[in-house]
Structure formats: structure tokens, C-alpha cells
Amino acid sequence: MANTREYIRTKAGSKIAKIVIDRDLCIGAASCIAVSAATYELDDENKVIVNGPDATDDDTLVMSAESCPTKAIFLYDKDGKQIYPK
């Protein structure tokens, strides 16, 4: 992936260890923010950044990634396996 940013998640009991945002895909639709405002915010380039990687539970995090209309949010488990998009 080209223009990506990685965010490490260390939340206790979570199966998700890393959140990756593809900034080329992100269009700032901000649907992920609607699902979890504690996890994401926009920067001035209208791209999503993760400011709270541990702020929410796994289900909400998956839901936020699923809500993205350009599939710009990738979730990985502790072994580096991609959980979403499947």
C-alpha cells in the first residue's frame, strides 16, 4: 500500500492490534467518525487520523471500518493477519 498510516492498538483483551488508514483511498466522508468519534478525527487535508486507537471495543471498531464508503480502513490482528476488509 502506498500512502498509509499505521496505528498500534494495545487495548487489553482486544483481538485488533493495528489500524491502518489508506490516505489515498480516504475521502473524508467521515462515516467512521459517526460510528466512533472517540477513535477518529479529520486533519486539514480532509483525511482521517486515529487519535484514540484504544478508545472503543472491537465490535465498534469493525463497524466503523465497515461504514467506510471507500474501504480505506484496514484492521489487523496480533499475528499481522488482515481482519477487515475480509
Binding site: I27, E45, P69
Partner: protein, 411 residues
């Protein structure tokens, strides 16, 4: 006659999110989903994005659900079908092919249509609007041969299409009936910033201009403006607003104004009929008025909340809507209710000179909305300030200070 426990009219993000949400609450109730398009759920917001058009994003990325998703979740996808009549007493929907479907609970998530030009020649080939995947595919094909392009309108479709046309190296003209870009939703200062970015990006912007006729044979070859100027053009896109899809409902006693009228539970005036998405004119609890918020995030959230209510979980819709767009190195965001009105107090943040300019709209003591040019990082915090009904009456000076951290106002 087939009958569904839950019948959803509209296969876009509101309708599909509703189906998905109902399934989490009711694992066995039958769900039917009618769409006038033959396609499974696709990303309507991606339709206007240059990366998609120019093939930088694989075409199939546009689809957000596969056919198997509908099957696995036991959702009957009735694609390519249009509803023409609703009988709320008998609880029956009639489709264009004459067939009828019964329902226990109905969701109207029919969206809106793009407003089409009616000037002479507007029916020629390569005269486009952008609403459906079909429209997008026609533009994509046209892009390969056109060298002169015109985009009409002062909103996000025209802005994003102009970006696309320039990326495809076309000579691009933007026709604007208004005196500045995005009038009257934006103020002149913001509109001028956008115009400056367009011009810098190589777009010829013609303000106070209107197309009078579209000329050519089968395909468009040129456009004549009201002032008599004729511009060569092999591709023209109209981004001139939307029209409702509610005419078929007016006979049936469902209250319709600009959209389908609903309360805060997204219930319409008819029993067991809900509405969601671009077509819903709902009682907004945050803003305290009936509004239509036509954007992706709102459609998704309303689909979810309408579905919860349909499945018996009575819950009001309370959400601060927002919308963003970008192009020509410029980002634009609208938060909450940013529409103009005499009762609004407007506080400016930053300046066009600094190429970073926001406007915060206040009614009474509270923020109701904002517009942000190159300040999208403030979108989330402003939506929270609106949501939490923060009293900002004593903070006017701070709000007007571009460096003041808005987060410090949160509870």
C-alpha cells in the same frame, strides 16, 4: 401475493443499513429490499471521486456488499424494480410490472434524483448528470474521447467533476448561474477562495452564466450561453441540485413536503411506515426543526435508527450531520445546519488570506452549524459542541480567534 415482515424501498446506503440492522435484531423475520437500480449496494459517494473515474481505484471497489451478503442474511433483493403505488390501509406496495407486495412494516428510503436540465438539446448524448452507477459509467466512457468539458452548477458535484476533468487533461469550463461559488450556502469570502483554487487549477469559471442551448447532432458538440457565447464541448455535466422522488406517495395520505415528513423516530404520518436518508424531512432533535440532510453519513445513521424502531426498539434519531469534499488542494466541510438565515449570528475563524477560513453559525446561545475551508480538522469538535448544546454566548471572541482550541469548550 408475497408478503414481508419488513419491506424496504430503496437499495442505497439507508435501505441496506436498515436491512442489516433489522437482521441483527430479528434473525427470522422476512426482509424484502426493492431497488430501482439492478446493482447491489455500491458507494454513491465514490461516484464523484476522480480516483475512481481515472481507474486509480479498481472499479469493483465501488461495490460495498456482494450478492452473497443478501443471500446469507436472507434479504430478498428485488433489483431493477420500482414502486408505483402504496396502499397504507391494505399495506400493499405495487410495482411498475403490476406485481404487488404486502408488508407489516415499511421503510421508504427512496433517495432523491438529480435535477436534469430542460434546455433545448439537453437530451443529446454526452449530456450527463451524476446520481447512479449508470450515470458514472457513461461519464467514464465519455472521458476517453472528450477534450472540452463543461460542468454546470455551484456545488460539490460541479466542484469534484471539475477536478476530475482537469486530471483528465480536458479544457474545463465551469458555468455558474450565481455570482460566486456555492451561493447562498457559503458566504462570498469562502466562495471566492474556492473560485481561486479552481482558477489556479486551470478551470475557466464563468459566473452569472447560464447555458441556453446544447448544440450538435446525436452528441453534444457545443453549448450556447444566454449571452450568446458558444463554447465547444464534447462532455457536459449538470450538478444543479436534486428533485424529490415522492410524487407516487401523494395520493396516499402520507404527509409530503419537500421530502417525506417524519417525527424524531423517523415515523411518517402513516402507521407502520418509516423513512430514512435523502428523502426524509425529519424532526431534528439537535436543531429543533424539520430538516432534510442529504448525505452519506446521515443516510447510514438514519437507516440504522429507522431499523431499530421498526424492529421494536423505540429510539429517537439524534445526530449532528456533516459533509466534506475536496479538490484543487482545497477541503470544504459543512457541519450541522449551515444554511443561511436572518437569525444566525456568524463568527469567522481564520481568513481567506491565510487560506484557512471557517464560519461558525450561532442561534441564540448555541452553535447550530459551521462551514470550514481548509479547516476540516475542526469538524469533529464542532459537531460535538452542537451535539452537547454548549452555551457559547460568552465565548464569541474566543470562537473568532483562529488559534483558540475549540476542544476546550467541550464538557
Amino acid at each position: 401475493m408475497t408478503s414481508y415482515k419488513y419491506l424496504i424501498i430503496g437499495g442505497g446506503i439507508a435501505g441496506v443499513t436498515a436491512a442489516e440492522t433489522i437482521r441483527t435484531k430479528d434473525t427470522t423475520g422476512s426482509i424484502g429490499l426493492i431497488s430501482d437500480e439492478p446493482y447491489v449496494l455500491y458507494s454513491r459517494v465514490m461516484l464523484s471521486k476522480p480516483n475512481f473515474f481515472l481507474g486509480k481505484v479498481p472499479f469493483d471497489q465501488i461495490y460495498l456488499k456482494g450478492k452473497e451478503w443478501y443471500e446469507t442474511n436472507h434479504i430478498d433483493f428485488l433489483g431493477g424494480k420500482k414502486a408505483t403505488n402504496l396502499d397504507t390501509a391494505k399495506k400493499i406496495v405495487t410495482l411498475t410490472d403490476g406485481s404487488q407486495l404486502g408488508y407489516e412494516k415499511l421503510l421508504l428510503a427512496t433517495g432523491v434524483d438529480a435535477r436534469r436540465s430542460t434546455i433545448p438539446g439537453a437530451d443529446k448524448k454526452n449530456v450527463h448528470c451524476l446520481r447512479t452507477l449508470e450515470d458514472g459509467m457513461k461519464i467514464m466512457a465519455n472521458l476517453k474521447t472528450a477534450t472540452h468539458a463543461i460542468t454546470v452548477g455551484g456545488g460539490f458535484i460541479s466542484f469534484e467533476m471539475a477536478d476530475l476533468m482537469r486530471m483528465a487533461n480536458m479544457e474545463t469550463t465551469l458555468l455558474l448561474r450565481e455570482s460566486y461559488f456555492w451561493e447562498p450556502m457559503l458566504d462570498k469570502k469562502s466562495g471566492d477562495m474556492i473560485e481561486k483554487a479552481l482558477v489556479k487549477g486551470g478551470v475557466k469559471v464563468l459566473k452569472n452564466s447560464e447555458a441556453a442551448s446544447i448544440n450538435g447532432g446525436e452528441c453534444v458538440e457545443s453549448v450556447t450561453l444566454k449571452d450568446g457565447t458558444t463554447l465547444p464541448c464534447e462532455l457536459i455535466i449538470f450538478g444543479i441540485g436534486v428533485v424529490g422522488t415522492t410524487d407516487w406517495l401523494k395520493r396516499d395520505g402520507i404527509e409530503v413536503k419537500r421530502g417525506i415528513v417524519a417525527n424524531e423516530f423517523l415515523e411518517t404520518s402513516a402507521p407502520d411506515v418509516w423513512t430514512a436518508g435523502d428523502v426524509a424531512e425529519y424532526n431534528d432533535l439537535v436543531l429543533g426543526e424539520h430538516v432534510i440532510m442529504g448525505n452519506w453519513v446521515n443516510g447510514r445513521e438514519q437507516g440504522r435508527v429507522a431499523a431499530l424502531n421498526m424492529a421494536g426498539d423505540k429510539r429517537p434519531f439524534k445526530f449532528v450531520s456533516f459533509y466534506t469534499t475536496q479538490g484543487f488542494g482545497t477541503t470544504i466541510a459543512f457541519v450541522g445546519d449551515a444554511s443561511p438565515g436572518p437569525d444566525r449570528q456568524i463568527i469567522e475563524r481564520g481568513s481567506p488570506e491565510a487560506n484557512s477560513f471557517g464560519r461558525i453559525l450561532i442561534v441564540g446561545k448555541e452553535i447550530i452549524g459551521a462551514t470550514l475551508i481548509n479547516r476540516t480538522s475542526e469538524m469533529t469538535v464542532i459537531s460535538r459542541l452542537i451535539d452537547q448544546n454548549i452555551d457559547v454566548s460568552g465565548k464569541v471572541q474566543e470562537l473568532g480567534d483562529a488559534k483558540f482550541d475549540l476542544k476546550s469548550l467541550l464538557k
